[in-house]
């Protein structure tokens, strides 16, 4: 066993018989493998830091979510939220499992189309959709969910030009008890703006109302908030049905389900607090089945889940660069993954696990990233043993948003690998290098180095070097 170097002397009070209320000892749990593949092997092959995804976990989570909803509602379709993680391999896994795509920009739309998803299997959200993008989406029969009145106007104009009515859905925002309430997107329900939008679309000869959408927030820990949103959407369904005879084809409950991450102010660990898919499903499906008009055929239920499906399938392996102890026993470790890779460190306290056996007790530790910025802190306080450079730590869950929101700042961004169902490890995003980072950069001509002319009269040194060069050749 390799010695860890200096181990600070410490006294551990005998706590037998007392409950571990401060949860200080749970970090002694360590993990040296992901899905049976050893972390040492992964870092040897692919370097450190390294994002690792488990295909098995992705598929199992999807299956769990799909089972929870499909056994409670007759017609359910998941739409993979690209902004959560738009790596091709991750998206492909979900599409293979039966998911369609949900995008919020023209970039994501193009990405989905390039992956082979046809237009009619892409849900298009977003507070801003340019006219060019809308034209493309309309021409490919994408499921457009409109956000504001100007957008309705633009689509009507396009529809008039192409000479056929366009199917659209309406995004609604509302008060559900979620803090902060998302009022930025869509039409507000309580003020009547949503019903106004419904009326506008239903009575337009260029538009058909086919769906209603609400995405109430993110990381919702109380499933009953979805009851409120579904009830409100059903009220709009009734409105459209009784006043215009329009039978809405789908209800989009959006996303926002929580993953097993722990928020900064949360006392209990995430996996003990987060509601199960069954609870979300019961809230959403039960409300819909009770409140939808019976005369209408049951609309399809779309779900734009992102975080809840991918977060727990993603790990980050990071190595300790150096560490120091302060006078009061607090350890500070600098690891090679910083907030440029872990944007969500601003919201969550990740699980940090050691990967090798260790000696000595655990103590309060601050984890810093390698960037030359004081705000680069992964975790303010976590209980870890004394660690020496080269040892690795496993950060989990990091699957959602960290890769899409990572920045190439100060360092290259690392590779991303995926462990397949049979245990083989494949790279799904290569580590960056200088060529990749500079690929889009252009140097103006005036700043470029000129090629040196072989003019012996101008520069004596030149003549000398050229003579030496000639001599060397002979």
């Amino acid at each position: 066993m390799q010695s860890n170097g200096y181990v600070a002397p410490s006294l551990t009070p005998n706590r037998n018989g007392f409950f571990d209320t401060m949860n200080t000892s749970h970090q002694q749990y360590r993990n040296d493998q992901i899905e049976g593949v050893s972390i040492e092997e992964l870092t040897e092959r692919f370097g450190s830091p390294l994002f690792v995804f488990s295909e098995r976990a992705l598929r199992a989570k999807y299956h769990e979510a799909y089972t929870a909803f499909s056994t409670r509602y007759p017609d359910v379709q998941f739409a993979w939220s690209y902004k959560t993680n738009y790596l091709k391999a991750i998206c492909k896994v979900f599409h293979e499992e039966g998911s369609i795509a949900e995008v919020v920009s023209d970039f994501e739309y193009e990405k989905a189309r390039k992956l082979g998803i046809p237009g009619h299997q892409i849900i298009v959200n977003g507070p801003y959709k340019s006219e060019t993008f809308l034209r493309l989406a309309v021409s490919e029969n994408a499921k457009i969910q409109v956000d504001n009145h100007q957008e309705i106007g633009t689509i009507e104009k396009i529809a008039e030009e192409i000479g056929r009515p366009v199917n659209v859905a309406i995004r609604v925002n509302m008060v559900t008890g979620c803090e902060p309430a998302w009022t930025k997107f869509g039409f507000n329900f309580e003020s009547g703006d949503a019903m106004l939008a419904v009326s506008r679309v239903c009575s337009s000869e260029h538009l058909n109302l086919v769906g209603l959408h609400s995405h109430i927030g993110t990381f919702i820990l109380d499933p009953n908030q979805y009851r409120v949103s579904m009830q409100n959407l059903c009220a709009l369904v009734w409105g459209a049905y009784t006043q215009y005879g329009v039978e809405v084809e789908y209800i989009n409950a959006g996303g926002g389900f929580a993953s097993a991450n722990t928020l900064h102010y949360q006392y209990l660990p995430g996996k003990d607090v987060v509601p199960s898919f069954n609870q979300y499903a019961e809230a959403i499906c039960d409300t819909l089945l009770l409140n939808l008009p019976k005369e209408m055929p049951t609309p399809k239920l779309y779900l734009e889940t992102g975080r809840a499906l991918v977060d727990e399938a993603g790990y980050l392996i990071t190595s300790v660069l150096h560490g120091r102890h302060s006078g009061d026993g607090r350890q500070s470790l600098v690891v090679d993954a910083g907030i440029n890779l872990l944007y969500t460190a601003a919201w969550y306290k990740f699980d940090i696990q050691t990967t090798q056996p260790f000696e000595g007790p655990v103590g309060p530790t601050t984890l810093y990233g390698p960037l030359c910025m004081n705000i680069d802190v992964i975790r303010q306080e976590v209980y870890l043993p004394t660690m020496s450079p080269g040892q690795t730590l496993l950060i989990h869950p990091v699957g959602a948003y960290n890769i899409t929101q990572s920045m190439q700042f100060i360092t290259y961004r690392p590779a991303v690998v995926m462990i397949g169902l049979d245990g083989t490890v494949d790279i799904i995003r290569r580590a960056e290098n200088l060529e990749h980072v500079e690929a889009l950069e252009e140097l103006p001509e005036r700043m470029q180095d000129k090629p040196v002319k072989n003019d012996r009269r101008r520069n004596g040194t030149n003549r000398l070097t050229s003579e030496l060069a000639d001599a060397a050749r002979r």
Partner: protein, 765 residues
């Protein structure tokens, strides 16, 4: 207008009924065969034939005037007894037993009397015994007539014009002592003997016509004759050859009726026919011996008696098995067999209660029909449904909490429209692994389905039943949540269909409809079926767009344009709706097909189309479920007869009932990829792939398409169809303003509220 009040003229009805009345004596519905028989009656003995026709006409016109059921009149069932009685009178007149005046008196009386007896007796026998009257009215009327006319026909002068043979009075003739040619002549004669005109030539023509109509007819007739002759030679008390040949038609017809008409022809019906003919022979001997001293023998009695006896006894069976009564109006045995085989293969649920999935999502059948520990004996027709994950586990993780089980708390739906008749709601949900043997059904709901059966769902969650006794539910309503009450180790749904609304009633076989079965990555759609234990079943959702494409079909004309290799033709298909609610499509070239739309699927049956558009429509739209899942495929069968080489078609027709019906297997899939030329009329397509199921060498593969792609239109049924042959066929519907109907249905229902009708609203900003 009901079926009985049509615009059809009485004379047209009379004409059709006339021809059919002749044919139906030989159990045939064919008009041309009837015409042949009619000509036969007029050919050799024209006077007798005319008398027969006159009597028939009298009764026919009376039947129409009296407003008897037109369909029964048209089929000839009400008339053929009269025809036989009139022919009898004609025979008496020909033999000089009555004079003209007596004839003029007797003919109308006898004909009307027979009509009345036929109508009454048919009704009585159908109602009380469920069997037809066949020619019993003729036996009765003939017997009465004999008493009036005074039987001159003694056993010594039989009703035949054949020369008296040396074997006339010898009761114990050996089978081998009569040459085969004599037997053959007797067969010919016997075919015309039923018309009271025993004559070799008439018989020959009739047998020839029968052979063209159906080879199996002739086979059964000859078989019956052979069986009876064999039996007769070995009886201690037997008939003379003369008597035997007089009664021979009984045996032929008995074998024909049992083997090919009233039962679907098969090896089993063949065996039954042989035995029935043997019995008929014995009965004939008895009848002759009883009546021969009285001077008159009711010669049609044995066949009637035996057929009715066998029919009635066979109706008492609990299950049909391999011997099936013909459930529709029989035509020729080959046709009956093919039609029945296809119906049985494609619609196994006919006659049984059906139910839709009482759940949404995927479940595994953990205990099926007649299996496991609890689905046995009276309770064997039941299903256990449980949600299992990919590893086959019923719960998440390793804790044994009820809420960790996938099935626990999931909604249970009503499988059919009905009324709740029993609710038990207060049994505690047991811990996983425990079995409550006292309230072993746990919490339950019994639903009286509108179809007359009762559906029971058990092991529900305590307090979760949403309806009370007496409430009406619709199919798809959530009635309760799945729980773990009663004899249930892990939460599951137990569902069964039973005959009574009590808790422990006898279960009956029922079919699950409109669902998918998952095998690995493959998703198979089933319109109806009984899932085996271990199958992963998921409920199919009725897709509105696909349903609309068929829901708009109504009684109107559809015009199609068919193009193949540069040749263009047009065809008009007329759609009507029959009294059972089935769609009947008839083409102007004589083709026809029927289709039924249940809530979830469009299925074609009874296809008689070999020339035009209907041939391809019936293949491409053989079964179309109303789903939108493009991954699921369904399987179906089509009659392969048209694709067998014509030269061997007759042989295969005759052999098929004793072996297997030649079919083609089809696989269907929905498709959303519509080519641009049809994109503005159609949003959904159906791709049907055709594969042969019998030896491909027998099939003319040039005529067999590989795939047929149909593009459906939400307003107009079929927008276009492409048949993939060597010379592809493209069929397009020609749309035209529909002048026959007042309102042209639009895709969107019109808004109703306060005239806020389709006015364009501008943005308020």
């Amino acid at each position: 207008m009901s079926v009985n009040e049509t615009n059809e003229s009485d004379w047209k009805l009379a004409g059709e009924a006339l021809l059919r009345s002749y044919g139906i004596i030989y159990f045939s519905q064919s008009s041309w065969f009837g015409a042949v028989i009619l000509l036969c009656t007029l050919a050799v003995y024209p006077i007798q034939g005319i008398i027969g026709m006159t009597g028939l006409a009298i009764s026919l016109l009376t039947a129409i005037q009296l407003k008897l059921d037109r369909q029964l009149v048209r089929s000839g069932i009400y008339q053929f007894n009269t025809l036989l009685v009139s022919l009898t009178l004609g025979y008496f007149y020909r033999q000089g037993m009555i004079d003209t005046v007596a004839l003029l008196v007797l003919l109308p009386c006898a004909s009307l009397f027979t009509l009345l007896v036929t109508v009454s007796l048919s009704d009585i026998m159908y109602r009380s015994l469920g069997i037809p009257a066949i020619s019993l009215p003729f036996v009765i009327a003939q017997t009465l007539l004999i008493f009036i006319v005074a039987p001159v026909a003694t056993p010594a002068s039989p009703m035949t014009s054949a020369p008296v043979s040396p074997f006339a009075t010898n009761p114990n003739w050996e089978l081998g002592s009569i040459p085969v040619t004599q037997h053959l002549l007797t067969i010919l004669e016997t075919m015309s003997a039923i018309l009271l005109m025993p004559n070799y030539y008439i018989g020959a023509v009739i047998i020839g016509a029968m052979f063209i109509l159906s080879r199996l007819y002739v086979f059964y007739a000859v078989l019956g004759f052979a069986v009876s002759m064999t039996v007769l030679t070995f009886l201690p008390v037997s008939l003379s050859y003369q008597q035997a040949s007089m009664l021979a038609f009984n045996f032929a017809f008995c074998s024909l009726a049992i083997g090919g008409v009233f039962f679907i022809p098969s090896r089993h019906s063949l065996a039954l026919a042989v035995f029935s003919t043997a019995i008929c022979t014995l009965i004939a001997v008895v009848v002759v011996k009883i009546f021969e001293s009285s001077g008159f023998i009711p010669i049609a009695l044995p066949v009637n008696f035996v057929i009715l006896l066998v029919l009635h006894a066979m109706k008492m069976r609990v299950q049909s098995g391999r011997l099936n009564l013909t459930p529709f109006m029989p035509t020729t045995p080959e046709d009956n067999f093919r039609r029945f085989s296809l119906l049985k293969l494609r619609f196994p649920e006919f006659g049984y209660p059906t139910m839709r999935c009482p759940f949404s999502g995927e479940r595994t059948v953990t205990q099926g029909v007649d299996s496991g520990v609890t689905h046995k004996d009276d309770l064997k027709y039941a299903f256990d449904f449980e949600v299992l994950d990919r590893e086959g586990e019923p719960r998440i993780g390793i804790n044994d909490d009820l809420s960790d089980y996938y099935s626990f708390g999931t909604p249970i739906l009503a499988s059919a429209n009905g009324t709740v008749v029993k609710v038990i709601d207060d049994v505690k949900d047991g811990e996983p692994g425990s079995q409550n043997l006292i309230d072993n059904w746990g919490n339950l709901v019994i639903l009286a389905m509108d179809s007359g059966y009762y559906l029971m769902a058990c092991h529900l969650q305590r307090g979760s039943v949403r309806f009370a006794e007496g409430n009406r539910v619709r199919q798809g309503d959530v009635i309760a949540l799945c729980g773990n009450s009663g004899r249930s180790a892990s939460p599951h749904l137990h569902v069964q269909v039973q005959t009574a609304p009590t808790v422990r009633a006898r279960t009956v076989q029922c079919y699950l409809t409109h669902y998918y079965e998952k095998h690995g990555r493959n998703l198979t759609y089933r319109a109806s079926g009984i899932p085996d234990e271990g199958t992963i079943v998921s409920a199919a959702v009725v897709n509105q767009h696909a349903a609309e494409c068929f829901a708009r079909i109504r009684d109107r004309k559809y015009r199609f344009r068919m193009e193949q290799a540069g040749r263009i033709s047009e065809e008009t298909i007329t759609c009507t709706i029959d009294s059972l609610g089935h769609l009947v499509f008839t083409s102007e070239n004589g083709d026809s097909m029927k289709a039924s739309i249940q809530g979830h699927v469009f299925q074609v049956f009874d296809v008689r189309a070999d020339r035009g558009v209907l041939r391809w429509l019936s293949m491409g739209l053989n079964t179309v479920p109303f789903i939108d899942n493009e991954q699921a495929f369904w399987q179906d069968k089509i009659d392969a007869r048209q694709y067998i080489y014509p030269a061997i078609r007759w042989i295969s027709d005759s052999l098929a009932p004793f072996w297997k019906c030649p079919t083609l297997r089809t696989t269907g899939k929905m498709s959303h990829g519509i080519p641009p030329e049809y994109a503005n009329r159609s949003k959904v397509g159906v791709i049907t792939t055709i594969l042969p199921e019998i030896a491909p060498a027998l099939l003319d593969s040039r005529k067999l398409p590989a795939t047929i792609t149909t593009y459906l239109s939400a307003k107009d049924w079929v927008a276009a169809m492409v048949v993939a042959l060597d010379d592809p066929i493209v069929i397009e519907q020609m749309s035209e303003p529909d002048r026959d109907n007042i309102a042209t249905l639009s895709a969107k229902p019109t808004p109703q509220f306060l005239g806020v009708a389709r006015k364009r609203m501008t943005s308020p900003f």
